[in-house]
Structures are given as C-alpha cells and as structure tokens.
Amino acid sequence: MLDSLALAVTVPLLAALLVTALPGRVQTLGVIGAIATALVSLRVTVQVWQHGSLRSDPGGWGAPLGLALQADGLSAALLAMAALVALAISVYATGYFREGERRLHFWPLWFLLWSALNALLLAADLFNLYVTLELLGLTAVALGALTGQREAVAANLRYLLVGLLGSMTYLLGVVLLYAAYGTLDIGLTGAAIRPGPVASAALVLMTGGLALKAAIFPLHFWLPPAHANAPAPVSAVLSALVVKAAFYLILRLWLDVFGAIVTPAAAGLLGLLGAAAVIWGSWRALRAERLKLLAAYSTLAQIGYLCLFFPLLQATPEGPARDDLLAALVLMAISHGFAKAGLFLAAGLVQHSAGHDRIDELGGTAQHLPATTFTIALAGTTLIGLPPSGSFIGKWILMTGAIATGQWWWILVILIGTLLAAAYVFRVLSRAFNEAPTPRRFVTQASTEVPALLLALTSAVVLGLGAQLLWRLMGFGVVA
C-alpha cells in the first residue's frame, strides 16, 4: 500500500537528505534522485488520469483534525509539468554545474525545492500551504543567490523579504478563516464559507500575499532582477515553476475556497492587473538589454495572461465553456512553464558561450549554437502564442471566452501583448543572424542543449497537439 501522494513529497526530500549527507557522490545521486522524483510525480498524474482525484491523510486522522494531501486534475497536470521540467533542468544542471563547490550547494537545495513544489501542489490544508510556501521561498532564494555575485545576492535578498511579507499576509488571512470557520482544510472551508467581511478580508489578504509571490502587477518589482541574475537552471525553475506555484495557489483558493464569495468586481480587478502586466511586462521585455532580463519580464506578461482568465471564469456559468476556460488556463500555464524553462536554459548557454547575454551583441549565435537558437525560437513561438504551441490554443479559448462573455476589451490587450511578444522574440532572433561561418553540427553540447531543446519543443508542439489530454486529465467533458 504505497501512498503515491506522500511519496511525491518524501522521495525528493530523501534525495535532498542523501545529497546533503553524502557530498562526495552528489552528481550520481542527483541524477538518480531526479529520475526517481520525476517517476513518483508522474505516477500521481497517471493515477489521477486513471481514477480521478486522489486524497490521502498522513497521520490517518483525516480533516479537520489531521491534514490531507490531495491531487485533482489541476494539481496532477501541474505536477507532471513540474516533474518533466525539473527533470530536464536536472540533466542540464549536471552539465552546467561542473565545478565542485556550487554543485555541492545546488543539489540539496534543488531537491528541497522540488519537494516543496510537489508538497504545495498536493496540499489540501491552508496552513500546510504556508509551510510549503516558506520552504519553496527559502530554497528558491538560496538557489537564486548561488552565483554569489553581488547583484544576485541583493536581488534575492529582496525577493526573500518580499516573499516573507507575502506569506505573512497570507497567513493572516488563514488565521481569520480559522477564527471564523474553525477548520484549515480547503474543502471544508470552502463548504463553510459565507459572504461577509471575514471572508472578503481573508480573500484580499491571501490573494494579496500570494500576488506578491506570483509577481502579479504591480507587485512584480522584485522578479526581474532576481530571475535575471540567478544561475540559468535556477532562473528556469524560478520562472517556470516557482512563480507558477504561487499563481496556482491563487487559482486554487479562488476556485475551491472563495468560489462562493468572489464578486465580478474582484475578478475584474485581477483581470485588469493582468492586462497591465501583459502590456507592461511585454514592453519592458522589448526594451530589455539582456536576454535573461527579457525572459524575466516576459514572465510578468505571461502571468498577466493567466490573470485575464479570472473575469471570464467569473462571468461564465458552470458548464463546458467554463471547463474549457479552466483547461485553457492550465494549458497556458504549462506551456509557458516549458517554454520559459527552455528559454532560460538556452539563455544560459548563450551566456556561457558568448561570455555575456547582451542582446545587441549576440550576432552569430544562430551559427555558433544552432540548436540553442532553435530552442529560443521554439520557446518564443510559445511566448508569442503562435500555433501549434499550447499557448495558441490557450489564447484561442481565452479570446473565445472574451467574445462570448462580451468582454471584448481583453481582446485588445491580448492583441497588443501578442504583437509586443513577437517584437521582443524576433528582436533576439534577428540579432542572432549574421554572416558568421557555418556550424559543423546542429548540437554542440548534448547534455545541456538537448534538455533545453526538448523543453521548448514540448511547449511549442507537443502541448499544442496533445492539448486534449489535459481535458481528459482534468475530467472535463467527453472529447469527441
């Protein structure tokens, strides 16, 4: 009787302990641990696919006294994304952290972070979520500062402080909910919640705190420097997974806890912030001088797109249309996760090969690093939302929802965002072409280039063509 939910948290945790205790064999243990963690995570997804939602009670007490782990389609989908992205990043890291000292620090923190991610995605308890948030935050900060450069440490210190402010605010909301409803379980709280000042205050506090962590405009100021200065594999995981985790939590709360009390105005506000993020983030990405900074700003915009779904979800009655929107939201989040991870990994390679990542001086990258340039192009396709990427389908459904609910103004935002995204992606790509000589081979360093390429390829092709699997995983409708 193996509890796959508990395993998805404990296996990476044990891997972290092993690599901490046995620093001599960190690389081998790291690879084994990564594979094992990915496997147990995917096992959860497969089980959700087969049997629907899973729930388990560590301690055997059950809610409300004990706490529970839970996996539904939403968490299973993100869990699978985290597993695949993190596995690719792990492989990349074996090639990236070659020298001793940093490698030694990377792996334990990396597994703790992975464990925190899985724990967060599976948690069904509001306080447990706080603990996972903190674990995630501390490990992310420590990893982000791993280059040891001044800017990286300073940016991540700010990230830490802001994150703590966010999680404290979140916790205050939890306390108010506990005071009013006497339970911490997500499902029970959601069932008990009644419209009123307490619930509204908790909604504002928790969403606000998490918005800080998810870098929702205008609470995003900490993200670009922190993400742009971290080592490439860490930037990848920060942008692809860590920010997404905070966003997931907002979504989870709005759906399962505050579902009954969310007003159109609140959802509209979130949508408005998202719209501002789309435009501001894309604009800053276009103006960014460095490739990694561009990628970081683009993350802001992508989170903005996800926020645009809230007013539409709010305005759409239960039914297939709402299910489509929800699945499209998840699809966009996942596609962006893969694409952004691929982009950051590729940016790391460019930085490594050129010695810098200033966009204006990247001439010839298309010739030196064809596979990496290809990765950037594929990831860019997803960021723009061009077919056949997953985000194309996501955007299609998003715009369908906007027209169907009569909120056509979001279309303009998406239009501007898409064109800006095209501009910033192709700004990089057009710099990459010059008259430098021909490369001998497509791939130059397999252990780092192939994972990045696979991530980007997944986002740009596989997720688009295989999108219907997500509907099936989330248990939505019968796919014809």
Partner: protein, 96 residues
C-alpha cells in the same frame, strides 16, 4: 475581580505594544534588537497568561532567544561598520 484582570491584561498588552514600537522605531541597531528581545520575552509571558506554555517556551527560546542572538550579531556588525564609516553603503542594497 474581572475588572482587575482586565486592567492587568491591558497593562500586559500595552507594554507589549510599547516594546514593539520601541523595537521598530529605534534607529540604533543594537538598541532595536534589545527591544525586540524584550518584546519577544514579554510576548512569551503574555502567551503563558493565555494558556499556551508550550508556545511561550518556544518563543522565549527560539523567537526571542535564537532570533535575537542572530539579530544581535548582525547589529553588532552594523554598529562596527558604522564606527568604521561604512554605513553609507549599508542601506543601498536594501532599498526597493
């Protein structure tokens, strides 16, 4: 009796708040930390009064004790740096 208790609570809490304000507003780092430690210990006292001895113990040992010790070390460094005239750089990395 209840009035007395109420007054007692009032004094307890106002002291707590005063200590917190002192910790938050005193510009000299070491003094701020000292106030913070005092605040933590006082908080432990209040919690003991509220029937939470376990937590009071932990707050005294971990929150006020270890947290305070960590901050004290930082404050001492800050004070030393202030003496050595490096304080001007002290703030730039924390500005938002």
């Amino acid at each position: 009796m209840t009035l007395l208790l109420f007054l007692f609570d009032l004094v307890l809490l106002s002291t707590l708040l005063v200590l917190a304000i002192a910790a938050l507003t005193s510009p000299e780092p070491r003094r701020a930390v000292m106030f913070f430690i005092a605040f933590g210990l006082w908080l432990a006292l209040v919690w003991a009064r509220l029937g939470a001895p376990d937590v009071a113990l932990a707050e005294a040992a971990i929150g006020a004790g270890l947290g305070g010790a960590l901050m004290l070390a930082a404050a001492r460094r800050a004070a030393r740096r202030q003496r050595e005239g490096k304080a001007d750089q002290d703030d730039d990395q924390k500005s938002s």
